[in-house]
């Protein structure tokens, strides 16, 4: 059982790292946009680029394609990252009133019946999608954009795989929590339980808020 928890940690580490790395893509995204609109007004720069070898890399059309490439890689790398940090939104009307154990059962079945089938079915079918892009050496539909579409399309598979890993990690923890020996239960970091919210979740800090609130403020573990 403790072994399961160790595997869970590894499975969580990968989407965590991928998401955090992917998060930095926002910086080049902003830079590309700013460069594109600035040089659109400063035509002499664009004209200089147009007549230089740089044109192959930074024509306006290519830059505008770089924008969605960066955006796509960013959000696909974050799919699993968001789950291990419990950032995926839930309709918690009923769930919050349930006992921790019931919540754990919901998560257990949800992962097996919804998350796994989704990631596996769409993941497998996306392999064909990527393969077709690779074998045809797919390029931009505009013909003057970026080439090698298979690279960015591969991020779909990567993203779904990261979400699958996040699901495996959470499932293993829930297995230990539900079926494991009592002494191990306390060692299980149950991010997905509302009474033990993940401590490293970066969002608006609850403690900043009005203390006179009639709802009991949930303390971070």
């Amino acid at each position: 059982m403790r072994k399961l928890l160790e595997i869970a940690d590894v499975c969580e580490w990968i989407p965590q790292k991928a998401g955090k790395l992917g998060a930095w893509l926002i910086v080049p995204l902003i830079i590309v946009i700013m460069y594109d609109i600035t040089t659109r007004k400063l035509q002499f720069i664009q004209q200089a680029v147009l007549n230089s070898p740089l044109y192959e890399y930074i024509s306006p059309t290519k830059l505008q394609e770089w924008e969605w490439h960066l955006h796509t890689a960013l959000f696909l790398l974050a799919l699993g990252y968001a789950y291990v940090n419990n950032a995926h939104v839930r309709v918690d009307l009923i769930r919050e009133k349930c006992k921790d154990r019931t919540q754990a059962w919901i998560e257990f079945f949800g992962i097996i019946l919804a998350l796994f089938p989704y990631c596996i079915v769409i993941g497998i079918i996306s392999m064909r999608f990527i393969e077709l892009a690779y074998t045809s050496n797919e390029i931009s539909q505009s013909m003057t954009g970026l080439s090698q579409r298979w690279i960015i399309k591969s991020f779909l598979l990567i993203g779904l795989f990261l979400a699958l890993l996040a699901g495996i990690s959470t499932l293993l923890r829930h297995i230990v929590y539900l079926f494991g020996p009592a002494h191990l239960r306390d060692d299980v970091p149950m991010n997905m339980l509302t009474s033990a919210e993940s401590a490293h979740l970066p969002r608006i800090e609850d403690e900043d808020l009005n203390r006179e609130d009639d709802d009991p403020i949930v303390t971070s573990s």
Binding site: I30, W68, L79, A87, V89, V91, A114, Y118, K153
Partner: protein, 453 residues
């Protein structure tokens, strides 16, 4: 009829049940889609290869869709403003300035939503940005959670109605009508809704001051201090909004690119405030990634669900249902509006437009509304009615995108029940707005007739 003809109906029921388990929305909606694909295979009305269309839809809808680049940018902007304290300073000042007006802070949020609506037509971006900036301040000021979340969700979705709006562009394309006419036609209905929110907030805050508490006397400051605070706290965000709006209306950037300008501007403000460090930047970038991942996984799931629903004949079921009623003119129009409203509980705007517009727009176009609306104007009037209705679909539980995005970034003390409860009065206002545009077609038709003649 066979059992399998009703699979789309059962799909709805399963989705609703699944949502209420509290398992993440994105996985529930996607998982329901996959499950019913397999059930469809069992009944021989779906085939495995059809799932191949899902990656294509994800690709065209979310990835290779340049408009959505605005989403991470605006989220970054909102997060950075919140993190660097700019948003807080701004709202503190608004609070002080608006202390004599009931619900002043909520009014400020509505005004901000209306202004931001002119910069983006992407719901995910505006809801998240507004929530990050305004929700903590409202809660800290002691606002009732329902009122705070309802105000934010409703004002932030104005962006889909007030131009520029990707929804209006898609509708114009489907109907082969002028984008310009639709853009201009949507302005008055958008402002009407915004005014309705204003009136509601003022009335409810006057009637129940405890849900929108006015500022306590001991927090009052003298006018000199206030002036300084205004300079320090008001000017930077105003510069930012001017940058974003100015880059669009000055012809420097497209609305999509203006989101990048906003993100860049928020970074610069943090630099000037001396609050930018690598760790702040990392924190903001990671938060942006979390929120972006949350939003797009919902898209991934929803596009799967909608595809399977359509493939199982759900679209046909809806159309057959409406046609079976065999109604004309006003009753058909009202039935269509009702259908769109109900579909809005479960689908996003794109799927609803694809189900309703191609089939019913040509029929509505030929209806006779007498002198109420002239023949050639009917299609524009109808399009605006659909647009107002679709804006509402972002707000209606259980499957309301705006509500999910808000919940995704809200503090933990804000529960889905607060959000669901808080949105009800605003959905009522939406219906009043919709009814007004039906009763007074001039709201949709007057501006285009004057400006584009």
């Amino acid at each position: 009829m066979y059992f399998e003809d009703f699979l789309p109906v059962i799909m709805f029921a399963m989705l609703a049940c699944g949502l209420f388990t509290g398992f993440p929305v994105a996985f529930v909606v996607g998982g329901t889609g996959i499950a019913f694909g397999f059930i469809g295979m069992y009944f021989d009305v779906f085939s495995m290869i059809e799932f191949f269309n899902v990656p294509e839809r994800i690709w065209g809808g979310a990835a290779e869709n340049p408009v959505l680049v605005a989403v991470p940018c605006f989220i970054f902007m909102g997060t950075m403003l919140e993190k660097s304290g700019v948003a807080e300073d701004l709202l503190k000042i608004l609070e002080l300035l608006l202390k004599r007006v009931p619900g002043g802070l909520a009014l400020a949020v509505t005004a901000m939503g209306t202004i931001m609506a002119a910069t983006t037509g992407i719901i995910g971006a505006s809801v998240v940005m507004m929530s990050l900036m305004a929700l903590p301040a409202m809660l800290r000021a002691g606002y009732q959670k329902e009122l705070a979340t309802g105000t934010i969700a409703a004002s932030a979705t104005l962006g889909i109605l007030i131009p520029p709006s990707i929804m209006l562009v898609i509708m114009a394309d489907l109907l082969a009508i002028s984008v310009g006419n639709l853009f201009i036609g949507a302005i008055l209905p958008g402002l009407l809704l915004s005014s309705l929110y204003f009136i509601y907030i003022i009335v409810i805050s006057a009637l129940k001051p405890h849900i929108a508490p006015p500022i306590a006397d001991d927090k009052m400051v003298d006018s000199k201090t206030l002036m300084l605070m205004v300079l320090k706290g008001f000017v930077p965000p105003v510069i930012l909004i001017v940058m974003v709006l100015g880059s669009i209306f000055g012809g420097i950037a497209t609305p999509t690119e203006a989101a990048g300008v906003g993100a860049f501007g928020s970074l610069m403000l943090a630099v000037f405030n001396g609050r930018l460090s690598i760790s702040t930047l990392r924190d903001v970038a990671e938060r942006t990634a979390l929120t972006t991942g949350m939003i797009f996984f919902i898209f991934l799931g929803a596009t799967t669900f909608s595809y399977v629903f359509r493939s199982l004949g759900g679209e046909h079921l809806i159309i057959a249902g409406v046609e079976y009623m065999d109604l004309h003119s006003w009753s058909l129009l009202v039935l269509l509006m009702f259908t769109i409203f109900i579909l809005g509980f479960f689908f996003d705007f794109l799927e609803i437009t694809l189900i309703i517009l191609p089939v019913f727009a040509p029929i509505v176009e030929l209806l006779d509304f007498g002198v109420h609306v002239e023949g050639r104007d009917i299609i524009y009037w109808f399009a605006i009615l659909v647009a107002v209705n679709l804006q509402t679909s972002f707000l209606t539980p259980p499957f309301g995108f705006a509500l999910f995005y808000l919940k995704g970034v809200a503090p933990k003390i804000v529960k889905m029940q607060h959000i669901y409860k808080g949105i009800i009065p605003f959905v009522m206002l939406q219906l009043i707005g919709l009814g007004s545009v039906m009763a007074f077609p001039g709201l949709a038709l007057y501006l285009p007739s004057v400006l584009l003649s």
